[in-house]
């Protein structure tokens, strides 16, 4: 199979998955028991519940297009999605896409920062560990990182919150910006953002560090035993040159795909961590929306997050194929 054809295959696969996710999103509210127009519920007990008569019910069903066959509704839904229309939020009284776009940057900031930091620190520590294999620095690093990485991010976040924010007062307790702050210039604002993002990003980074560390440790260990490294040493190259030019470059290859393979669980962690720190990203919004039963918002976030993760994986896949032409039909390093 030619590379182009294979990439097309991959694209079709991801596209198909996205379609399944959209379909699920379409049918979920329709699988719920009850009829939205039997009763227009009231928010407080004092308010009278309005029972609709047949005529009114039909009016509402027609108004929302729910009297059409499911197939027609489905294609209308697809069309709306293509135009970026995710529906209208009943609670926030705004289009869902507008709300999501406003919150999205915070989540992206957090996830990206954690992704970059954990990968860089993980690779450095993993290489160190491989270098000192079976000696004390390796053993200490191995044990402590494995232990830390097994603690879920939100539990780590709680500790960070109580120790560094509440106990020592070094960091703000919640939010992404100081309320009603008057920034003198751009730098002050940036500093404030970083100050607020510090603890959430730290929680996510530490939770993901162990995985990256183990991966690069194994990868580096394998590379260090290769013949071409012996050659490099024999040529009398300096250790720095051997490690960075010869070993690390080859060891990094399998790590590149893994960076995005774990994105799904990182996003799951981010949703929880945002709630620990009341960080105004999508995760915090999602929980809020579930609690006020604002279903269009919940669905919109679910869709956006899933599509983002799938796209990131698709591009990582593509990049890996370009980086390593040896890769076969099954994507070699994916298994195990």
């Amino acid at each position: 199979m030619g590379r182009l054809k294979k990439n097309g295959f991959r694209l079709a696969e991801y596209g198909f998955t996205i379609l399944i996710v959209i379909t699920l999103n379409f049918f979920l509210p329709r699988m719920m028991p009850g009829d939205p127009f039997l009763v227009l519920s009231s928010d407080s007990p004092e308010q009278e519940e309005i029972v609709l008569n047949e005529e009114q019910r039909e009016f509402y069903l027609h108004h929302y297009g729910l009297d059409k066959p499911a197939g027609v509704q489905y294609f209308t839904y697809l069309g709306e999605l293509c135009r970026g229309d995710l529906g209208y939020s009943v609670y926030y009284r705004e289009p869902v896409s507008v709300i999501i776009l406003r919150r999205l940057p915070w989540t992206i900031l957090m996830v990206m920062a954690a992704l970059v930091l954990s990968t860089c620190i993980g690779v450095i520590l993993g290489s160190l560990s491989a270098w000192y294999r079976e000696r004390w620095p390796d053993k200490v690093l191995f044990f402590s990182l494995i232990l830390l990485s097994e603690i879920p991010a939100f539990l780590l976040g709680l500790v960070l919150l109580f120790v560094f924010a509440a106990g020592l007062g070094l960091f703000p307790l919640s939010g992404a910006l100081t309320h009603f702050a008057d920034y003198g210039n751009r730098w002050e604002k940036l500093l404030d953002i970083l100050h607020h993002a510090c603890l959430p990003v730290m929680a996510l980074t530490v939770a993901r560090l162990g995985g990256m560390y183990l991966l690069s440790r194994n990868s580096m260990t394998t590379v260090l035993e290769k013949d071409y490294l012996r050659t490099a040493w024999a040529k009398g190259l300096t250790p720095g040159r051997v490690i960075f030019r010869h070993a690390l470059r080859n060891a990094l290859l399998p790590i590149t795909t893994r960076v995005f393979l774990s994105l799904g669980s990182l996003v799951g962690g981010a949703i929880l961590v945002e709630n620990v720190f009341a960080y105004p990203g999508l995760g915090y919004l999602m929980r809020e929306a579930v609690r006020v039963h604002d279903y269009p918002v919940v669905q919109g976030i679910f869709l956006v997050v899933t599509i983002f993760v799938l796209l990131a994986n698709f591009f990582a896949d593509l990049a890996y194929r370009i980086l390593d032409p040896r890769i076969g039909d099954y994507g070699g390093t994916r298994g195990g």
């Binding site: 991801y14 494995i146 879920p152 939100f154 799951g268 579930v290 669905q299 997050v305 298994g335």
Partner: protein
């Protein structure tokens, strides 16, 4: 591994090979299991009604203090262990059963069923499970059963992958080949040859799945979206952290700390245990069978 009576002996041998961290993990898991099984006997106070003044510090009548409604925390932790273990083991069992079956089918049949299943697994691994868990909890109601089913739907890929690779390797073994030439059918091979060989590895993987499921349930409960009728550790943490101004009081020193400790100890113990067993069950893999998840 052919004859069953050898199994307990083997397990004792395994335990001797454990490092100290493995032994410690085994002890923690055992302790929490006992806590869950004997919850009614271990807690003097009921776990669902108020038995004292609210927000009592540990000591005195209440071993670990009380929460904002005066409910004994020790009793809540004992009963919370039941919820966590139920979700964890239920998910792991369902996932191992389904995944094992799918893996055997993929490995044994080969061809397009195998290709299809492998592609499906690739996609499932990438999909973020937690957002879907929230969506389903929002729409279908957060009952424990729903949570278990959704978690199992996302977990079967790991046992399936292990089983498939095992079956692929086994299929080439001469004793399987000879059984086939003697007319052994697919079912016979599965029960007599594949399952006994594959079971230990899947069982080890089940421990990891249990841990993952417990974490997910705790996360969902922490958001306040879990099953409100069964008070898990995550739900206790949710109540504690939603208490206004808990940062500025001393209440977190028991109300938040003890469920946090229970959860963290359980999760890390399960992880270390599975790592240990993976090492012993399949020395070739060493630490390499570490999923980034």
């Amino acid at each position: 591994m052919k004859n069953i009576p050898a199994q307990p002996v083997k397990m004792i041998k395994w335990f001797h090979d454990f490092s100290w961290s493995g032994k410690l993990s085994a002890a923690v898991i055992l302790a929490i299991l006992l806590l869950a099984v004997f919850a009614p006997g271990l807690s003097i106070h009921p776990h669902n009604t108020s038995t004292g003044a609210p927000l009592q510090p540990p000591g005195g009548k209440h071993l670990l203090g009380t929460d904002e409604l005066g409910v004994d925390l020790w009793a809540q932790i004992c009963y919370g262990a039941r919820v966590s273990l139920l979700v964890g083991l239920g998910t792991a069992f369902l996932a191992a059963l389904g995944g094992g079956l799918v893996g055997i089918i993929a490995g044994y049949l080969g061809g397009w069923p195998d290709k299809f299943i492998m592609r499906l697994i690739d996609i499932m691994i990438v999909l973020p499970d937690f957002p879907l868990l929230i969506v389903l909890a929002a729409f279908l109601g957060p009952s424990l059963l729903n949570i278990i089913v959704v978690l199992a739907l996302f977990s079967w890929v790991f046992p399936a992958r292990i089983t498939r690779s095992q079956v692929l390797a086994l299929k080439e073994q001469s004793y399987i080949k000879s059984a086939e030439t003697y007319g052994a059918g697919a079912w016979y091979l599965m029960w007599k040859h594949f399952l006994p060989e594959v079971f230990p590895l899947v069982a080890v993987n089940m421990i990891r799945l249990t841990g993952r499921a417990i974490v997910s349930e705790a996360g969902l409960s922490f958001l306040g979206l879990g099953d409100p009728t069964s008070k898990s550790w995550g739900l206790i943490i949710h109540h504690a952290t939603s208490f206004k101004g808990i940062y500025f009081t001393d209440f977190w020193k028991w109300w938040l700390l003890y469920p946090w400790l229970a959860l963290t100890m359980m999760v890390t113990a399960l992880a270390f245990m599975s790592r240990e067993l993976e090492r012993i069950a399949d020395p070739r893999l060493g630490g390499r069978r570490f999923s980034v998840h």
